[in-house]
Amino acid sequence: MTTPAIEIVHATKRFGAVVAVDDLSFEVPEGALFGLIGANGAGKTTTFGLMSGFVRPTEGEIRVRGHRLSSGHPPLGRVLALPQDAAMPPSMTAASVLAMLAMLEGRGALEARRRSLDALARVGLADIADRKVGVLSHGQRRRVGIATTLLGDDEVILLDEPTAGLDPRAASEVRSLMTTLNAERTIVVSSHNLAEIEAICTHAAMIARGRLVTSSTMAAMKKTGTLVTVTLARPLPAAVCPRIEAEIGVRRVELSADGLRLHIELEDASPDGIAGTGTDAGTDAGTDAGADASTDAGTNAGTNAGTDADRAAGCGDVEDRMNALLTVLIQQGASVRSVERGQGLEQRFLAEMAQVDRGREGV
């Protein structure tokens, strides 16, 4: 069995009364391009700090390639991290900062200089090598930060929001760079751009309020059920949820506190569980549902929503259950404003976050 690149084992991190990471456990497989997903304040940066050795866990442990990180001892020579919001000395040139860091990694002066120039060239900053960090733009400084992770031959690279603040072209280049580097190294990346994570990552973990929501391969994460959000014109009583659960094959059904939104995860019926790409399914469903939003009973909305995507994947059973769902809603006197359906990462993320929020409200 291959040792995972990184293992987080029941890690908890408290800052005073604040629990930033709460009994978090997941593994980053060797060779993965691993996405860490979460809303603002979910604990992503603290998790990066734990993996990099900058932050000591209050409880639990972190292992890098099987070696337990000990207090104050970063995983030298195994992991290089791009920290979020870390500044560099403004009076030093980009190349001299990188050369100093390379020398600390054990390179001679000439080799360090060569590596620093090479790393800057890989992030498209060869022409500003001898410019002081203090005069660089935010995006350029970010790319100098990314270049620090290219100085060594380390097996694991941690990138905390590497494309934040970059222009679209630079962000695209960084994504290409990550994919290229992943051929020989394990990469862990966090981003608020879920399309970006979905496009490049092979695995992902979703965290909320410091706890793990789910962790799996990207394919599995996207194919988990069909997520349906029904927006209602009039609030429904909570009693509708058990009814839906009893009559339709659902993984879960949740009604918002104001009774105006239903979040439903249908059991997956297709052979491979993928009813279409997340983008297509979501777009089609949203467009069609929107067109029929004025329909009182919403029958058409449900029928049309995501039809193309479902047909493409041979997932007719979903259609039956959508119709059954709408029948139940009509029987309950619901006035459906719109139906959105999708299976992409963003849809999954929004559904998971909504559930976490409702769980908190319940508490």
Binding site: S52, G72, D85
Partner: protein
């Protein structure tokens, strides 16, 4: 599969801690020596020492060379008178070692006076030059780039060594300039000064190291850079005042031992080494536990 932490497969050999400490120290000393604060250190300490030295030379001339002639006067005494003189001076200064050094010319009285009166500024200047060096790394999070490549021990050692090098270099430059001016203008003879100055520099090396470690402690514990200066400055003054009134501090705090250190008195060296070990040890333990 597991691998050695020193040479990970596919990775590179991590340099030894000593090399890393020197790399950090070199960067640190270079950054400090080209800073405005280093220039302030040189000018302030130069003016204070130069002023005290000039005043001492003036007093020496006015008294017909009684200060500079102490060694010759002492040599002219009988053995019994010598012993009596040493006893008397030792009683005043609190150290027979220091009395011996002064009367026998190992520490020229002029150098002693300059050191005695000018060293009060050095702890504050050391603090001023380096109070923010670790704190800024932590608060700007540049430490995150450094501490994924260097263990915290070598990092701290490098920071202290670099700070020490910059401060000690500034002091030696000031002393060299003053001695150079005094001997070039014929006010002092270089020969008798050399031995005393070298001893004083030996003691000064420990003196500066103690206060650099003290600054590093405040730089690590303070939640903001300017607080390191504030807390450090207040505690220096507080400990100095308290050393006059609180008995344990009277015998243990650094300020009571500095002039004896400049004659390399073993007991003074022991006190300074003890303080240096405590400051460095506590600072390392705090840094080791600190989230950066």
């Amino acid at each position: 599969m597991s691998s050695s932490p020193a040479t990970p497969p596919g990775g590179h050999a991590v340099p030894n801690p000593l090399t890393q400490s020197f790399l950090v120290a070199r960067h640190e000393a270079k950054a400090m020596l080209i800073s405005f604060r280093a220039a302030f250190f040189l000018v302030t300490y130069g003016l204070i020492s130069g002023g005290i030295g000039a005043a001492a030379l003036w007093a020496d001339r006015k008294t017909g060379g009684r200060l500079s002639g102490v060694g010759a006067q002492f040599e002219a005494l009988s053995l019994e008178d010598k012993q009596e003189a040493i006893r008397s001076v030792a009683e005043t200064l609190g150290s027979e070692h220091l009395a011996n050094a002064l009367l026998k010319g190992h520490l020229p009285p002029l150098v002693y006076i300059v050191l005695l009166l000018s060293t009060f500024a050095i702890p504050f200047l050391c603090l001023l030059v380096g109070y923010n060096r670790i704190a800024d790394d932590i608060h700007s999070r540049f430490a995150r780039y450094l501490l994924q490549r260097v263990h915290r021990g070598p990092y701290l050692a490098g920071k202290i060594l670099g700070h020490w090098l910059a401060c000690f270099f500034a002091i030696v430059v000031v002393h060299a300039i003053l001695v150079g001016v005094a001997t070039a203008t014929g006010r002092l003879e270089l020969g008798p000064l050399v031995d005393g100055i070298l001893r004083a520099w030996g003691g000064m090396a420990l003196f500066v190291l103690a206060y650099v470690a003290f600054s590093a402690f405040w730089s690590v514990v303070s939640p903001a850079s300017f607080l390191a200066l504030l807390f450090g400055g207040m505690s220096l003054l507080g400990l100095w005042f308290m050393s006059f009134w609180v008995e344990p501090l009277r015998t243990t705090w650094l300020g009571r031992w500095d002039t004896r250190l400049f004659t390399l008195e073993p007991q003074a060296i022991g006190v300074y080494l003890g303080h240096i070990a405590v400051f460095m040890g506590v600072t390392y333990l705090l840094l080791r536990r600190k989230d950066v």
